[in-house]
Symmetry: C2
Subunit: 360 residues, 2 copies
């Protein structure tokens, strides 16, 4: 990584905010959207950080993102709500929905918000982790462009549909499990494409369902496999989990679902006769002290983390990892070293700088 | 299957109720506990039906089940509660917790109940499916005896920790995804043991973490692998999901968690210095009309199911399955044909009949 150029968090944040201002976002929304992307880069989820900035701009240019949304709650109970995001950036509507869910959790113990008519929301972890500051458990999920085939199928019916669960801890980084329900998300294929390497034969299938080790298979009409990869190894479980994310995000909210979810890339057209509006998310928040006194919860959580960290390792150089631990370590590292950008992303940002008369 | 003896639902239900009465359950609790086991048999989850009845009796004999529990809510908000199950059968405490969650959902849109001090609750689907009758989404999960190793570990730290999501449908069977978070649950190993067959090398590992195709490996100190099986194929995701079930069921409720979860089999001792009480469950209920008008929800759900059923199959003889569809078909079949029991289970039930002076 030493040959890559590094940028400070502040530098990338300021630039990203400026780009969102240029596409018409309010100051508050531009700050919010940038905050989501920068956290991805800080936590090492490079595929979902500033690398995606030009993608959001292209969606705006294609008039598929509304930079001045009038979001509104269209259905509500004391512990639930449905938010019409008015085609907002998911980077803006996600945090707005989480704030509603947290307010409800403060009032009645938990809060659950479905979002329709939205767009790609960045890393699920950003949204789920908002709950941590108030000693709440955060849950975030979203549906996404169809790339994944259900078990027994060759058709792209589901997105990589991530789910994230964030749990507050006391003396350790929080437990943050943020996982795509596919066997491997698209980012891993892109790394193999760039390096010209084969991939394991459990990540994608060819267009007729044949086994493949070609990282370009997806471009050639193939599809990603669900977590579990094969029926023998539980692909039906990955399919079921991905379907659950789709039901929460699309069917419960009024957004599109399954193969109708609008694609993130602007060069793919939105299909006609859609069953819903935009793409959908689902968020949940539970106050830990809605179940136990805080101190009791934190004691158990510390004991859980300590015990799992000390589980007998197969290889002493590779201890058991607590979900979220590597990302917290990368965050700390990048606070010191800055954020490394690969050349393709630097080029992308420089093109944005030129387009909008900004400096990176 | 034709050589197996078949029993009517009514016959097995009456016998099962009688056994629960004999161990001291109230009439209401005996009916409830039997209902959970019989539904498992009717849906074809044979490993979790009357095949487990003698196991519950042995737990009662070992004084690890209280057949006359005084369950009580020990913590509460309008949308949440924690239930102390007083060492009840999970077959009894699970439905009690679901009733609380459903009452809260009626009042404030959703209900979430953590249960501590409980025992094995049978199939997760029973509990989650209770919500369906009132057009609510049901969620059920539980932690369980440690048999599964986290990624990078050789130690049994987690149970097969199932999660179930049940979604109401209109003209189709409900969507019911009930999945263990291990690559393959113990029942599949037992089938291979009985037939003397090898298993895929992605289900268990030997005690030093070595690859194994031996269905007896677990008995020899090995451990089950998480969904995903290998780091390359996403075992860390299966580990994270299993951990989330453990946090909801144990850490949030005050029950035991991780390697401290008391074993289901009575011949394994409970460890000293436990961090919590009994094992734990977690239940959630969301009213669909807390998010959208019912009609809109059901229209989308029907469209979702129809579209997925018609997804392009890899092999025309194997269409895409909606989670819960095979179990609903088996239920209908067994209403006609009765429930087939393997000889070992028949023998088990006959021994119970003798012990309690009952007739099967």
């Amino acid at each position: 990584m030493s040959e890559l150029n590094h940028y400070t968090e502040a530098q990338l944040r300021a630039f990203t905010e400026s780009v969102f201002l240029k596409i018409g976002c309010s100051e508050q929304d531009a700050k919010q959207a940038a905050d989501v992307l920068i956290l991805a880069d800080m936590r090492g989820i490079d595929s979902h950080g500033v690398a995606r900035l030009s993608g959001y701009v292209r969606l705006w240019e294609a008039q598929r993102v509304n930079s001045k949304p009038q979001m509104k709650v269209v259905h509500e109970t004391p512990s639930t709500a449905t938010l019409d995001a008015d085609e907002a950036l998911g980077l803006v509507s996600g945090p707005a929905a989480m704030r509603i869910a947290m307010e409800k959790a403060r009032n009645v113990g938990s809060g659950w918000v479905a979002v329709e008519n939205s767009n790609h929301f960045g890393i699920a972890a950003y949204h789920a982790m908002m709950a941590l500051e108030e000693d709440m458990i955060g849950i975030a999920m979203t549906n996404a462009s169809p790339l994944v085939a259900p078990t027994h199928s060759t058709e792209r019916m589901l997105g990589t549909n991530p789910m994230c669960f964030a749990w507050p801890a006391l003396n350790h980084p929080p437990f943050v499990a943020d996982l795509a329900t596919a066997a491997a998300a698209n980012g891993k294929l892109e790394i193999a494409q760039r390096s010209g390497k084969k991939i394991p034969n459990t990540w994608v299938q060819g267009k007729n369902g044949e086994i493949s080790e070609d990282p370009n298979e997806l471009k050639n009409g193939g599809s990603l496999l669900t977590l579990g990869s094969t029926p023998e190894n539980g692909s039906h479980k990955g399919y079921a989990l991905s379907a659950v994310v789709d039901l929460f995000s699309g069917v419960l909210s009024g957004a599109n679902f399954g193969p109708w979810v609008p694609p993130f890339v602007s060069f793919l057209p939105v299909q006609p006769n859609l069953p819903g509006r935009g793409l959908g998310h689902f968020f949940g928040v539970l106050r830990v002290d809605a179940f136990r006194p805080k101190e009791a919860y934190f004691n158990s959580m510390e004991q859980w983390i300590n015990r799992f960290k000390s589980a007998a390792p197969k290889d002493k150089t590779e201890p058991v990892i607590i979900p979220g631990e590597p990302e917290a370590a990368l965050f700390a590292e990048r606070e010191r070293t800055g954020i490394p950008l690969v050349a393709a992303v630097e080029k992308d940002l420089n093109e944005l700088a030129q387009k909008f008369d900004l400096r990176l």
